[in-house]
């Protein structure tokens, strides 16, 4: 499956692993890249030296290309923006904002810059500022989300820009990949499926919740505050949504979510932690290696796309 994205990134398969905070560290990123996809280290709120360490650990085990997702609202974003250049990272994706102030810097270092966008206007703006591609991320995704569904967003972004588009949100098998390609995408980004990969360091309790999740287990906290986050239902989300419906503000409820993702990922606290996952979690029910996942999905997608 050759596309402008596989060419641009130098990867075998048009599959990008989402830069999930706390989850996408060196083990997962290296495994996905080694399997022929695009592994990403999730920069999240981590200090620059932590990211540097992850980058070096990936380089130590694979010479395949990999990238770093930079969360622009991180207090360390400026430093991480420099670290990726110093460490010779080839691909940067960005989330939670507008990366245009770093664009010239990264482009001059030969880095491929791929912002994650949730609207047509932002996609157009990113193209104008020199982005090499965009990830059009639908509201089906886990974690911080926009409003528009993948089905509606992807073709609109594809029509609006001439750079290649990577579809994200609600994709976890070959059918999803084939569907995304029909909408005009030239690669997909997936998080939830890789979250249960054997190489993923997320706590076993968290994996178990995803493997057992049903379609209706997905909930969104913080929508009324303008900071919607999709995760699996648990005690924390029920409490949050209840208080949110009572009109409690973002600051008043922050105590519920502060450090809650780390609690879920590292301590396996599935009651009070934030179990970020996409709506497709209900379909994700096998723990496999990244390589097994990628081969299975690509074979399925190719079978569907060559059917006529």
């Amino acid at each position: 499956m050759k596309t402008r994205i596989t060419e641009l990134l130098g990867i075998t398969y048009p599959i990008v692993q989402g830069g999930m905070a706390w989850v996408a560290e060196n083990n997962l990123a290296a495994a996905v890249s080694e399997a022929g996809g695009m592994g990403l280290i999730g920069g999240a709120n981590a200090p620059a030296d932590v990211i540097r360490d992850h980058i070096r650990k990936v380089k130590a085990v694979t010479d395949k290309p990999f990238g770093v997702n930079i969360m622009l609202m991180s207090p360390y974003a400026d430093e991480v923006a420099k670290v990726v250049m110093e460490e010779g990272v080839k691909v940067v994706t960005t989330g939670a904002g507008n990366p245009e102030k770093y664009m010239d810097l990264w482009k001059s270092a030969g880095i491929r810059v791929i912002p994650v966008v949730a609207s047509v206007a932002l996609a157009k703006r990113m193209e104008k500022y020199g982005a090499d591609a965009v990830v059009a991320e639908g509201t089906e995704s886990g974690g911080h989300i926009g409003e528009i569904t993948t089905m509606a967003l992807v073709p609109q972004v594809v029509d609006a820009v001439s750079i290649p588009v990577i579809a994200a949100g609600g994709i976890a098998d070959g059918r999803g990949i084939a569907a995304a390609f029909m909408l005009g995408a030239e690669a997909v980004q997936m998080g939830t499926r890789f979250l249960v990969a054997k190489e993923c360091i997320v706590h076993a309790n968290y994996k178990e919740r995803i493997l057992k999740a049903r379609d209706i287990d997905s909930s969104v906290t913080g929508r009324s505050h303008g900071h919607p986050v999709r995760c699996l239902r648990n005690q924390m989300t029920r409490e949050y949504v209840k208080l949110e419906n009572e009109g409690k503000g973002f600051e008043e409820l922050e105590y519920l979510t502060l450090g809650a993702l780390r609690k879920a990922v590292q301590e396996g606290d599935v009651k009070n932690g934030t179990l970020m996952a996409g709506q497709i979690a209900g379909m994700v029910n096998k723990e496999q290696t990244c390589k097994e996942m990628i081969i299975e999905m690509i074979e399925q997608a190719e079978g569907l796309m060559n059917r006529n």
């Binding site: 904002g97 507008n98 245009e100 102030k101 949730a118 609207s119 206007a121 703006r125 926009g146 303008g226």
Partner: protein
């Protein structure tokens, strides 16, 4: 400039042009979120042939501030 601005804002944010004043805050009064603001900025850049970098956006919270900003950039009133 205010009349033209009102027209652009009304179109981009789907609000009634008569409700837009120089003192209107995009977020508080006009209900715009960050994605709306990008739409608006893109429309303003096209209309006035200027570049509005993201760093400048944070200080532009009201219609009047945007008008001052554009004038400072050499846009004719």
């Amino acid at each position: 400039m205010l009349e033209k601005m009102k027209e652009i804002i009304a179109e981009q944010l789907s609000v009634d042009a008569d409700t837009v004043t120089e003192a209107s805050s995009f977020k508080e009064d006009l209900g715009a979120d960050s994605l709306d603001l990008f739409e608006l900025v893109m429309a303003l850049e096209d209309e006035y042939s200027v570049e509005i970098p993201a760093e400048d956006l944070q200080s532009l919270t009201t219609v009047g501030q945007v008008m001052d900003y554009l004038k400072a950039k050499g846009v004719e009133a």
